[in-house]
């Protein structure tokens, strides 16, 4: 119990240190900020060791070795070497060019996957979702379908810069900006909700995980 309270005091102190930035930049905030940078950087090192190097390379190598599968065990050296080649960036530009090989590998795979996902995962289904019946029995559904259909087309039209927009195209572009502004407004509303929620979380911690248990411990509550 005492250990938890002390730990919570550390967490609360760090929380207040960061919040103190709202008044002005100060040494307490800088301390917390630099501590955060250090811990975050080292966090990745631990993770790469525990969740990449050990399970994906070392443990697998031992498995293949135990099964007598020396070909697979040997092939496993390739990604391990690629990973180490990536780290040659630490050694400066003279040696760092070696990292281009694993970067090219990851970029190539990412690009290949991206082409498929963009078309199959977004473009086709979303265009299909836009091709809605513009006449429907229910007036509400009909109006919504018309709004979605024309909203998508005019929004895309707003970003068409290959030709000067005149006449109908210009009207379409103007309609498109209306839709886009409504969308940005809605996104802003949700963003406000998100940010306030983060503050609610921290306030909840300060009140119910720090102040109340401390008051209980010293007998005030």
């Amino acid at each position: 119990m005492m250990g938890t309270i002390l730990s919570t005091w550390i967490a609360a102190t760090l929380t207040i240190a960061i919040l103190s930035f709202l008044y002005k930049d100060n040494p307490l905030y800088k301390f917390a900020e630099h501590l955060y940078v250090g811990i975050s950087a080292a966090f990745w090192v631990v993770y790469v060791w525990a969740f990449d190097v050990i399970p994906m390379i070392w443990d697998r190598f031992l498995e293949y070795k135990a099964a007598g599968n020396w070909i697979e065990a040997g092939v496993l050296i390739i990604p391990a070497v690629l990973g180490l080649m990536m780290l040659t960036r630490w050694l400066g530009p003279k040696v760092g060019w070696i990292s281009r090989w694993p970067i090219a590998f990851t970029v190539g795979i990412g690009a290949g996957l991206g082409v498929i996902a963009s078309i199959q995962g977004y473009l086709i289904p979303q265009i299909r979702g836009t091709l809605l019946p513009l006449f429907a029995k229910s007036p509400g559904v009909m109006i919504n379908n018309i709004i979605i259909f024309f909203g998508v087309i005019t929004s895309i039209l707003y970003f068409y810069f290959s030709k000067e927009l005149k006449g109908v195209l210009r009207v379409g572009s103007r309609v498109g900006i209306i839709f886009i502004m409504v969308a940005f407004g809605a996104s802003f509303g949700y963003t406000v909700m998100a940010r306030i929620s983060l503050l609610i979380g921290r306030m909840y911690f300060l009140i119910y995980d720090w102040i109340v248990p401390t008051l209980k411990l010293i007998g005030i509550m």
Binding site: G121, G129, Y190, T191, S197, Y204
Partner: protein
């Protein structure tokens, strides 16, 4: 006019103080208010409710402490729903800072329902690679997660022996604070037909609505409000529900600020 100028040019620290108070004071009272259930959350709830007991649900922890107040309540609510329906839960994640939150949530909720690790749920942990994993798991999960987060081979867990790829996962729930939601839909949903529910922060939720309209996902739990709605559907109000009064008042306060500022702006403009 002088007063108007003072109000328009008020020190921002006064606004900081006011917004702090607007959030702090309602939280002191821990009031739970009923909330209207929106259609996207209802769809998400019904999708899980319809799963037969024993179904496998994969939950991807794609959030971290920066979005925990929004995402953690919806994650806890989803876990409670899954355990209540005796669904088997497989947790994994692509955000390094979020996976510990996944473990904390599992530990808390599994105790509530008396669920056992390895029998009712498993935590596969973190692997780097994001989209490569999403695509690769369509063939074989063991190619990336041969072990759980403790290094235990997943084949030592009874229910995981029959789980090889998305064909064996009845539902995937992505709790996302960034673009991972879209990646799951595009890489796992579109390619392998995986059924997906998205729980996301308020920042990301508007971008996910097109996927709901096109039928690519089953439901959306958007932000702390979405989490509160889900808690209400479960009849288990928790952190999200407690946060609703503070959220309500702060939203009204910010709209009030915008209106006040614009009134001042128009008065100033007219006087010029």
């Amino acid at each position: 006019m002088k007063i108007l100028e003072k109000i328009i040019n008020i020190d921002r620290r006064v606004i900081f103080l006011l917004i702090g108070l607007v959030v702090f004071i309602p939280l002191l009272f821990k009031i739970v208010t009923p909330t209207k259930i929106s259609e996207p959350v209802k769809k998400a709830y019904e999708a899980i409710e319809a799963l037969p007991p024993g179904s496998n649900v994969m939950i991807s922890i794609d959030f971290d402490p920066t979005s925990a107040p929004e995402c953690m309540p919806m994650y806890i609510a989803i876990l409670r729903h899954c355990f209540k329906r005796n669904l088997r839960v497989i947790v994994l994640g692509h955000i390094a800072y979020g996976i510990p939150l996944g473990e904390i949530g599992l530990e808390k909720v599994s105790k509530e329902f008396g669920k056992k690790y390895g029998v009712d749920y498993v935590n596969l942990g973190f692997r780097p690679g994001y989209t490569a994993i999403m695509v690769g798991m369509g063939r074989e999960i063991r190619d990336f997660y041969a072990q759980d987060y403790r290094g235990t081979p997943i084949d030592s867990f009874p229910f995981m022996r029959d789980v090889h790829n998305y064909n064996d996962i009845e539902m995937l729930v992505d709790i996302a604070h960034g673009y991972s939601a879209e990646l799951w839909v595009q890489y796992a949903g579109a390619r392998y037909g995986q059924r997906i529910i998205i729980g996301s922060t308020g920042v990301v939720a508007p971008d996910i609505y097109p996927y709901l309209q096109s039928g690519q996902i089953e439901g959306i739990i958007g932000g702390m409000k979405g989490a509160a709605e889900y808690e209400q559907l479960l009849k288990r109000p928790d952190m999200a529900a407690i946060g609703m009064p503070a959220l309500s008042i702060s939203h009204f306060f910010i709209v009030f600020l915008i209106i006040m500022a614009n009134i001042g702006f128009f008065i100033r403009r007219r006087k010029r």
